[in-house]
Subunit: 680 residues, 3 copies
């Protein structure tokens, strides 16, 4: 359309995109919008993920004309299209004919039609209808040259919809159990029904692990979580299978939502070509990241927390086998947090570059234009409801120009993402275990993992967030901040690891079925560290123990959690050294060979010291970034070192003398980004 | 009965009354109580509003004898009677025969018989039974000479009973929608079902806007709120119609409850002759006024907040077309707040005089005597359960004497209430919009309106709280603190206004259907102020921006909410001036012609400065009352200037030299009231 | 088994025991465990209380072999066995055949099988099945020589299971009402249905006092609480009757749970021989004792509150007619509090000795060995899951040795528990009344009673916590901290009392049916103190009045609650003296004859002064223990004075010169206990 060469070429290593809803705008506007997208430097547009009722207005009757036209209009403008399957929004005719589609909450209340995600993953009707619409859609557009990728559904689990307590879910759960255990006797044994004498008579007698006078058996609860996760993974796998058949050669992705741990995203990732996620840094800080303190919420209200988005980039890059997209990038204030701050000027640009620094191939903004009606009417986009380009739009356009300049000066391979020096192991079953048996009320969720990640990142280290199945052999440093369960595969991987290993509290404490590891925690890690956790202590906010060195110097304090460790007698001569102790003598940190065990959570500064110590032993160089600015962070991608400043003050960058910047300036204002070349 | 001339004559401009329940006391006590009421100086007694089961012990069988006797006994003592229809307490036989009477909560749980207000406004059985009892009661007592007024029902909406999710309500909602939209296509279009693709198949397929995985469509929710309000208004209109037919010439009123906004009280007011409300200042401060800070709750625990009752007086005087009654006045500690403070000595008297200052014709105390049993056994009255006169009773008697003295010295017209200089516009649909889409968690309820009202009142200004339909042409100053939706009628009224207009944040931001106003907020107000709100920011408690003048002087801070304003190019030459800005440059207050727009909420002191500035431009004189005492407030009625001191210290009153006080003293203690003549 | 003389002989006045679950461990381990118990010095083992499904795997089919073997194995080791009836864990076959067994919550949701306590006390099926299993069990083991006592069920009321809203409960409640009132007219009269006109048509029309738009009639609620309590007591009485018939001569006990007040434990105590309770000091401090401040929770996190366990010892010694057991004693961190602290070293020993000091015959630890699976997998025991003895086990063994040494040096009668000098009256119906009509949000639960108890104990006084039915004639000081209802029996008992009486706020304020006492509170106490409570005031946290002496000296402050007292004219010349007043003149403390009335709650220091004043007037000596250490407490048992130090610092004990210690040392470290002989 435009005769000038398109900015942000479609196969470039750094690409920009946008989410667009043709069904919400007059058809005459489409071409104009498409042209403006290209002009802004966007190459990619995601569409259709809530338009089921427009594609299939009644059962089996399809209306493709509007979508044909939309796709053609966008394609003619030179845009690449990502098509979303629309299953997050089942039409009313489906719910009406098949009420079993609707999910049921833990109190037995059916969730109603009228918003989105009103379906149960175990509903056979939903499964059949999903197969039909995905097949039809993929048959029609699967080989369209402009449709370059497919997204399954939208944000599985959003609005607390992973867990469903419907009759369909109950039948499926019982079948799942029967397959897992074979006999009810085996299940009773595995669940430990000798406790409180809750023997189940048959699989048909098993209910949900909710609604009892007090908590259900932990293994009952854990199996329900595993089953539920399996249902989501299976449902997605069905969609992926249909897409692969009818849309050959097009990568399939899902857009995950941050801080969601209800299903096993590593497992789902096995079926995907790319992992995408939806990045809303301000909503996370204000509301979703429940582990933040009020001070932190205020401190990072306008920039986002300096490590939460980065953590997700590193996580989903791993889940996507190295292929990371940001499918929805916050472009201005959102509507869904308790309070919705205005991004600091520059942050939309900074978030975009930060995603690229962490290896993103594409950053796609949500959304092209703010819709003046509907639940998200206060969710801003690149344009205001009156069509004028908004701040986020200006910053996106700036990024597009910067990409052109930067890539023109570099060879493509200089932007290849390499393995990081540090691996942080994360697993979803451990999150479920912590939620089922927290033992300390605040010991749930992603908080511990992110605090460890943050400590590494404040040292200037590059981190891969990896699954328990990842090859750890080449990492200099491997960190297990929340691995309550160390599975057999991880045990093997750790055996192969030649680097320094750091395990956090509770590591290896649980079996796969959520019992205490035998003979005692840290379970499988005892081959690295011959200690036994004889008991644990959780401390309410405000309680803390001083942490001291052998010389009696207080270096920080222990909080939230303590594993009380006995050093085992070690016939093999494997020696365990206590590095610091709590004021009452219990070990705070122990080490043996190349493995450290943190027997307690500690304050952020001490945790950073501990990680620095481990990194140095692993032969890694570190840098105390907070000395420059509390919100300064670095990330390397290929030959480039990126820096982002989340504030509050300006930061003097640690650029080696004589090295010119290829982006930004050496004194980085809050909201600023910069980059320089660090290796050929 | 008493041979001495009755105090507080029945047609005087300032009258006292009491709430009485003959059905709860031995018949032999009635005459004695009636005599004591007259002796205390009370002229009016309200009865019968919960006695349905005593009047109609089974369907269609009426027992009037006891009520005949009660009315006659009270009337013989010279008391005027206000009769309440008893529909707030449907008898068990009705519920038993017609379970559809019972309301249903948002979770689908039927609310049970056994307290009060257990009925759904959409129940046909309730409607029919209500018609029967109201008709029967009105036929019997409608022309009784002592029955001088009628009250419909009691505190519509109390105990969260406006919204009902019963099958009857669902049917009625669907009919209401069908009438409103004509076709389902029109409804889908109006609701914006293109968002998330939630097209409804027919009106019969529409459900309640609750129970979805996430929030329902805003217009769906808004229509349900409008429908619900209509149901309450219609139900009341039915009662009023029957009363007008059978009780000709008697004014009809309803006793509203403070801080309730679930139905449109301006609409209901159209059907009433008098608006009464139930004034419980301490319950409001402790519990109901959720927008108060903990400091404010403690500061005003024993006096009530200095502006909340006054706000309601001014609100209901408007709803009552100038006729205001306080039907229930707190007379001592109540039982229903989280904590129930003892009124400061003098406050029962002060609240009474404050009501009169704001134009009340009647102040009626709740209740004659504390009942030692039942849910309200800890609710005090004018007398203790042992029959001894309580502090509130003493103060009521004092007021009666003061009324005699004061009115003896004045002509009746000197107490006529005149229009105030300032109009504060309040509308109920905007409250619903804020609740459905708060955008900032604390941006709901009456808080913003009352903070604006308080700022005006701290300046010594008299305020009318008016509906969007009110004639604004003669007001010097018109304030719109929470008009999210500026309807066509208000737009016209503002065109006619010759005074200064002050609009608060979010003014004009929404259409009637709860979408963003086009092209952008402030919507219809753009003809006064050519600006566009490009985005909004809500700030969690603790976040604030400094507010500065052009000269860079910090004058206060911005909190809770900011509208980010672009100044439009103005071909017509209409100029917009930015009066103050936030530290990051966004306008805090702008003005154009005679209209100010507050682009942000600010701290109380700055808000007072802003209102003072506007008042001065409007030609109004102001007085900084808090310089005298934080709790000092003035209100003018006719020729009298009243003053009330809510404490904490004594206040030196701004009485012009040489003007004698007709009530109280020039140095006013906490809990004191005073009055002086300000014009002939 | 062991040839050395067993420590801790089975009939000694101080005995140790343990809770054991043979069904959870391999049979081959039983004998070894039994031997180790004896070696540790334990004499008693409680078993079987959750093993119903193991004893009766299907309806009427019993499997005793395993239990025979377990009992024989334990008995052969010389252990005494306490058998628990297993009714806290109804098997699935029972629930499956008779769904009416399941309880229903206040929202109408059935509580599910899958944990424990999933039964409704009103279920006829549960009653019948309970009779069958208890009979069968008692027939089999009732005369077994090693089975020395029986426990009914386990922790009635745990997990909020006292109140059930099932159809069975509703039928039983209606029958209960019909029996209580005879006619519906009498019930309507008693309930005060004249208020809000809620006349009930028949007993069959009465529902539960929940689910109404606002609170139900107080007497309706109160009757439901009395009915519910009766159901629990009757159910237990059924079990006791069967046990007495089939296990003659064996004492029957129940293990109550601390801080539970939902049923009348004094009534249940009438049917028991021994009252046992389950003592979890750290869980109480962290979570269950909701009346504690955050500061208190942190202060006593590792030791338990110095008075809460003691209060329960004194309470249950009374309920058990002098026979007190601690059936479950916390032996390490538990799993069920929000945060689970590590006991300070020595506390397991200290708690044990403190229980003995308060008259316990037996302290039985929970549990022998931590179970690595199930809901309580993080609940520690005397041994770790790997079988190694844990800290609690070491301390238990130490206590066993100390018992031997101490008892060897004393005659048995020197450990007889005598009546204390002070009686603190506690009644359960008053707790229900406070919960139904709190009037001040924080005026519920055991908080007030425990604060009074604590004040007495900080003065070094020994206290009996007694029922309203207890003989008060010989006590020097009688304290009524929370007797909202003073029943006829208590009125008589107080008449017989020759000591000083101290009544707290609200004393005597309510009738048995939860109406205001006539003519006014303090109701029956007016014969002791001719005053009238004309009104009450509750104060939200942060509000306080200074309390002053006649001389105007401020001695403390009034908080939470004030009774506003009028002094009655006293024809009989009985004089009431006001000892202190609030700053606004209302009496804070009044006295007449030998009775004090506290008209308000006050800060802890002032309360201690008031109790000291009363104690001195009663002729008792006191000692300001907190001058030694905030956590130091004394308790006398027979000839021995025990001391326990809950910290935080070491305490110099008030041991008379020349008196040697028989336990511990004169300077007591935190967590320390000591004892010395105070009389022959």
């Amino acid at each position: 359309m435009s005769s000038s060469p398109p900015a942000n070429p479609m196969n470039a290593p750094l690409r920009l995109g946008v989410c667009y809803y043709p069904e919400q705008w007059p058809r005459e506007r489409w071409a104009e919008d498409a042209r403006a997208m290209r002009e802004m430097g966007l190459s990619t547009v995601r569409i259709a993920e809530f338009a089921w009722s427009r594609m299939e207005p009644s059962a089996g009757r399809f209306e493709w004309e509007w979508l044909d036209a939309a796709i053609d209009t966008l394609a003619s403008a030179g845009l690449q299209i990502v098509l979303g399957t629309p299953t997050a929004a089942p039409p009313q005719w489906l719910v009406d004919a098949h009420p079993d589609v609707l999910p049921v909450d833990a109190h037995g209340r059916i969730k109603a039609f009228g918003a989105r995600r009103h379906y149960c993953f175990s509903s056979p009707s939903m499964w059949a209808a999903s197969e039909r619409i995905v097949t039809a859609m993929a048959q029609r557009y699967g080989q369209h040259p402009a449709v370059v990728a497919w997204q399954t559904d939208n944000e599985y689990g959003c609005h607390d919809t992973t867990l469903s307590y419907s009759p369909a879910a109950l039948s499926a759960f019982r079948r799942w159990l029967a397959e897992r255990y074979g006999s009810i006797e085996a299940m009773n044994e595995a669940w430990g029904t000798a406790f409180w004498g809750v023997q189940f008579l048959s699989f048909e007698h098993v209910g949900f692990p909710v609604g009892q006078p007090t908590s259900a058996l932990p293994t009952h609860a854990m199996d329900f979580r595993r089953f539920t996760s399996d249902q989501v993974v299976r449902y997605n796998r069905m969609q992926v299978g249909l897409l692969r058949r009818h849309a050959p050669g097009r990568p399939v992705l899902h857009n995950f939502m941050g801080l969601f741990g209800e299903f096993d995203q590593h497992e789902m990732g096995q079926d995907l070509d790319i992992a995408a996620w939806d990045s809303y840094p301000l909503g996370h800080v204000d509301t979703a990241a429940t582990f933040l303190s009020e001070t932190e919420r205020q401190q990072w209200a306008r920039t986002g927390h300096p490590d939460i988005s980065a953590f997700h980039h590193d996580l989903y890059r791993g889940i996507g086998h190295g292929r990371l997209w940001v499918m929805e990038q916050q472009a201005g204030p959102v509507n869904w947090a308790d309070w919705n701050a205005l991004p600091l000027p520059g942050m939309v640009r900074a978030w975009t570059w930060e995603a690229f620094a962490h290896g993103a191939e594409l950053v796609s903004y949500f959304r092209w234009r703010q819709l003046p009606y509907g639940q998200e009417q206060m969710h801003s986009g690149l344009h205001r409801p009156d069509g004028v380009r908004d701040v986020g739009g200006e910053e996106a356009a700036q990024v597009a120009k910067e990409i052109d300049q930067l890539t023109a000066a570099l060879s493509a391979t200089m932007l290849d993402t390499a393995r990081a020096d540090v691996a942080l192991v994360l697993d979803y079953p451990s999150l479920w275990m912590a939620q089922i048996q927290p033992q300390g009320k605040d010991m749930v969720g992603f908080g511990v993992a992110i605090r460890y990640y943050s400590a590494l990142r404040r040292l200037g280290l590059n981190v891969d967030v990896v699954s328990p199945d990842a090859d750890l052999s080449a990492y200099a440093l491997v960190v297990l901040p929340q691995s309550l369960h160390v599975c057999d595969r991880l045990t093997e991987r750790l055996q192969d690891c030649r680097g320094v290993i750091v395990a956090g509290p509770r590591a290896g404490s649980k079996t796969a079925g959520l019992a205490i590891a035998t003979p005692l925690p840290p379970g499988p890690l005892r081959s690295h560290l011959p200690v036994r956790v004889r008991a644990v202590e959780s401390m309410r906010p405000g309680r803390a123990y001083a942490v001291r060195t052998d010389a009696g110097v207080t270096v920080g304090h222990s909080l939230q959690w303590r594993d009380l460790i006995d050093l085992d007698p070690t016939p093999q001569g494997q020696e365990v050294q206590v590095l610091e102790r709590c004021e009452d003598g219990w070990p705070a940190r122990v080490t043996s060979g190349r493995t450290d065990l943190h027997a307690t959570l500690v304050n952020d500064d001490l945790l950073q010291q501990w990680m620095q110590d481990a990194a140095h032993r692993a032969g890694l160089q570190t840098m105390a970034l907070c000395a420059h600015a509390p919100g300064l962070r670095l990330r390397r991608r290929g030959a480039l070192q990126f820096a982002t400043n989340h504030g509050p003050g300006a930061a003097k960058l640690p650029v080696p003398a004589g090295v010119p910047l290829v982006l930004g300036s050496a004194t980085l204002p809050p909201g600023g980004v910069a980059a320089w070349v660090v290796s050929p």
